[in-house]
């Protein structure tokens, strides 16, 4: 970690072009060679934070039902509303980060808010209050996502950005897989020790914030001037923000006037509209492929495993063959998964294949989209731009979930998945057309 330690001058200049090279010489191991220390530090923060938050997620149902003796039906009523709010929070976090060029400060606020929610869980014992704390936790997540991704993109060289995001997402997912293990270790040592789980979760989250504060370079990034340095030269097009005027809400919205940003936003949103949410995918796997009740809770682990393993290789591939191509390829994997769910096949390996495709979809899209987007968004509006594209995608996915649930009621699971598959095929075809041509690095 101390490799990230650099002089104050260097640390305040997280621009795309230089940092990767400065850090490279000091990196251990071949595989991680091109990964800037900042990205590894941010990956570590995400890993630690995900251990902390997934610990809570893993025991929460048990805590609510067995620990508090509550009937949790209708627990997620606010969830729908909150999904909309968290999209807006992400835009706000991105804008705030760009405004003072203080990505790190905004990220610290987001991670800090989520960390502070863990001890709050020790004091709330009713469903509305628990939902409130979870909402606050997710507000923290919404605030930090865009500045963190902006820092990843600014710390990596354009030609290695896919790899950088891949490494970050792999570390993030690794933390998510470790969280439940830690939680059940604690419960194994202390029966019904939910308070201990929340306390340990807080300690881990606090460590994450500390690693962020200590090892991720921050300070005010200098205004980026247009130059030949790479992606942060004004992107092709009208270059609305090229001369780094003050960051305002208007300049953030003006990002949509950059053709590449517009295309990526529209594409990600359209594809999001036809991306069936995880919960439905797992339900389909269970209903259509006949997974036993006992294995059902393990299905998300299957997806996460393939996401973890493939995130970096697919990020590297994206750097080689094009991020948009890999992003589209991920959706083809999803299309295949839908197809397998619709086919009247019965094979013991089928659930694994579907989960592998589902994990591939995440590995090929989750980090690759911001890597692709970073090339199109000028550095001084990076967080706003990534937030814009990410929020469009997230809100579209949420709309898809609602529509999917409603349509399931009327026409049944097979028909609605068929429609989603057709929609995804059309959108992917359109995206392939819209995103053709050379991409900005």
């Amino acid at each position: 970690m101390y490799l990230a330690d650099r002089g104050p001058t260097a640390a305040t200049a997280p621009t795309d072009a230089d940092q990767g090279r400065t850090d490279r010489a000091a990196q251990p191991g071949r595989a991680l060679r091109a990964i800037p220390a900042t990205v590894l530090a941010l990956g570590t923060v995400s890993l630690i934070t995900d251990v902390s938050s997934e610990m809570v997620t893993a025991v929460l149902p048990l805590y609510v039902v067995a620990g508090l003796g509550l009937s949790p039906l209708g627990f997620g009523v606010l969830d729908g509303v909150y999904n909309g709010v968290s999209g807006l929070v992400r835009l706000f976090g991105g804008h705030l980060a760009d405004r003072g060029r203080r990505h790190k400060a905004v990220a610290v606020a987001g991670y800090g808010l989520s960390a502070l929610c863990k001890p709050l869980l020790l004091f709330v014992h009713t469903l509305p209050l628990i939902s409130g704390v979870l909402a606050l936790d997710r507000t923290g997540k919404g605030i930090r996502t865009a500045p963190r991704d902006a820092m990843i993109s600014l710390a990596s060289t354009p030609e290695n950005r896919g790899r950088a995001f891949g490494v970050h997402r792999a570390m993030d997912t690794g933390g998510a897989l470790l969280g439940p293990i830690v939680a059940f270790l604690v419960l194994g040592m202390a029966a019904d020790g939910y308070d201990a789980v929340f306390t340990v979760s807080f300690c881990i989250a606090a460590l994450g914030v500390l690693v962020l504060v200590l090892f991720v370079p921050g300070g005010r990034a200098p205004a980026v001037t247009a130059g030949p340095a790479g992606a942060d030269a004004a992107p092709a097009g009208d270059g609305a923000a090229a001369a780094s005027p003050p960051v305002t809400l208007r300049s953030a919205l003006a990002l949509l006037r950059i053709p590449d940003v517009r295309r990526l936003t529209v594409t990600a949103t359209l594809l999001g509209l036809t991306t069936v949410s995880d919960a439905f995918v797992y339900l389909m796997v269970q209903h259509r492929l006949g997974i036993s009740e006992r294995l059902f809770p393990l299905l998300p682990l299957g997806t996460a495993f393939f996401f973890l393993v493939l995130a970096m290789p697919l990020g590297v591939l994206a750097d080689r063959v094009g991020r948009r191509r890999v992003f589209l390829g991920g959706h083809v994997a999803l299309l295949l998964a839908y197809g397998l769910l619709l086919m009247p096949l019965h094979n013991d390996a089928l659930p694994f294949v579907v989960l592998a495709l589902h994990g591939t979809f995440y590995a090929a899209t989750d980090g690759v989209l911001p890597a692709a987007a970073a090339g199109a968004v000028p550095a001084e509006l990076r967080a706003s731009g990534l937030a814009l594209i990410g929020t469009g995608q997230a809100l579209a996915r949420f709309c898809c979930s609602i529509a999917f649930g409603a349509a399931w009621t009327v026409i049944g699971d097979q028909a609605v998945l068929g429609i989603a598959m057709a929609g995804l095929a059309v959108c992917a075809g359109w995206a392939a057309y819209a995103l053709r041509g050379p991409e900005t690095a």
């Binding site: 101390y2 003796g69 997620g76 469903l127 439940p180 202390a190 020790g193 881990i204 009740e293 809770p297």
Partner: protein
């Protein structure tokens, strides 16, 4: 800050946070250990044989602290607060009828906890284990002892994210034919077939081996449904009925009803429903009850309410008269034997 100060800060922070984390785990572990010591003034408990046959006994999950915590215990029906006989069978939820028991239990695994529904014979020997996908909440056996049903909470299979749903299973203990989820039954809502992704079922109560009542929830509304095992249908009867429990003579249901204007943390009150006249009568329990009641005879129901050490067992007349009375402390899920 130099690399050295950063590293020192990190090491100090890891030491402090690690100590806090360790102390919290130790404290919780010590507290868990305390629960293995009997509290003074608790009911006397001794190890012995617990049978689901015989007569005049009541079997429930003992929640009193001490070595028999969470074991199944048996007490005389006419002295439910008296000395308890404990058998080394631990269940989160329990029910029994006609010599057949259902024990919904937890097994600790390395990655996560797993749950099983065990069908027990009259001597509490396991006849069959069914893995279940979530946290147990309700279970019932048909009056003949042939059919068993259970409901579990499953986290996170809703499209809205961190929502919970329920899954209710039914098994025929004569053939071990299992219906993993009532969601495969045909729903007839207000006379018409009904499909929805958000249907949830819970709280089965059996009329006989082929028919039962249960709760169906969809679109924010709960319904009393009548189920037919042979036809695999569920027909809605009326709204706002949860966790019905059928009287031994099959003429009345006692259920928990969401009452308007109640505190959102205490939303339910007990009501009786006459199945002939479809008239509802509020019972004389004024507190919110989140349980599927058990009939102790044709006129009285029992249910759990939070006490000092786990749930206490309370009873109230099933016709709206009288008042609630505590029957036993630290006791859950009674079943009446014989």
């Amino acid at each position: 800050m130099t690399a050295r100060t950063r590293l020192i800060t990190l090491v100090v922070a890891v030491a402090v946070l690690g100590t806090v984390a360790f102390a919290s785990v130790m404290r919780a572990s010590h507290r868990a250990g305390e629960r293995d010591t009997a509290q003074p003034g608790g009911p006397p408990i001794s190890a012995g044989a617990v049978s689901l046959a015989g007569a005049g006994r009541m079997v429930f999950r003992n929640m009193a602290w001490g070595p028999y915590r969470d074991d199944l215990v048996s007490v005389p029906v006419n002295d439910p607060g008296g000395a308890r006989v404990a058998a080394p069978v631990r269940c989160l939820r329990f029910y029994a009828a006609a010599g057949t028991g259902v024990c919904l239990r937890k097994e600790d695994g390395p990655l996560q906890e797993t749950y099983f529904a065990s069908i027990l014979d009259s001597r509490l020997r396991t006849l069959h284990d069914f893995p279940i996908a979530g946290i147990p909440t309700r279970t019932r056996v048909s009056p003949s002892g042939h059919m068993a049903a259970w409901t579990v909470f499953v986290g996170g299979d809703s499209y809205a994210g961190s929502d919970f749903s329920t899954r209710t299973s039914i098994v025929d203990t004569r053939t071990w034919a299992l219906t993993p989820s009532l969601e495969t039954y045909k729903i007839i809502k207000e006379g018409k077939p009904y499909h929805a992704a958000d249907v949830n079922f819970w709280g089965v109560t059996f009329a006989d081996d082929g028919h039962f009542y249960a709760t169906l929830a969809t679109k924010g509304q709960t319904y009393l449904v009548h189920g037919d095992v042979a036809a695999q249908t569920l027909t809605t009867m009326r709204t706002n009925v949860e966790c019905p429990s059928l009287s031994p003579d099959g003429t009345r249901l006692v259920f928990k009803k969401r009452v308007p204007g109640a505190d959102p943390d205490e939303p339910w009150r007990l009501y009786a429903l006459d199945l002939k006249t479809m008239e509802e009568t509020p019972l004389a329990e004024s507190r919110s009850v989140d349980d599927q009641v058990v009939w102790s005879d044709e006129h009285t129901v029992m249910y759990g309410l939070a006490g000092d050490y786990g749930d206490d067992l309370w009873s109230v007349p099933a016709d709206g008269t009288g008042k609630a009375a505590r029957v036993a402390v630290a006791a859950l899920n009674p079943a009446f034997i014989g």
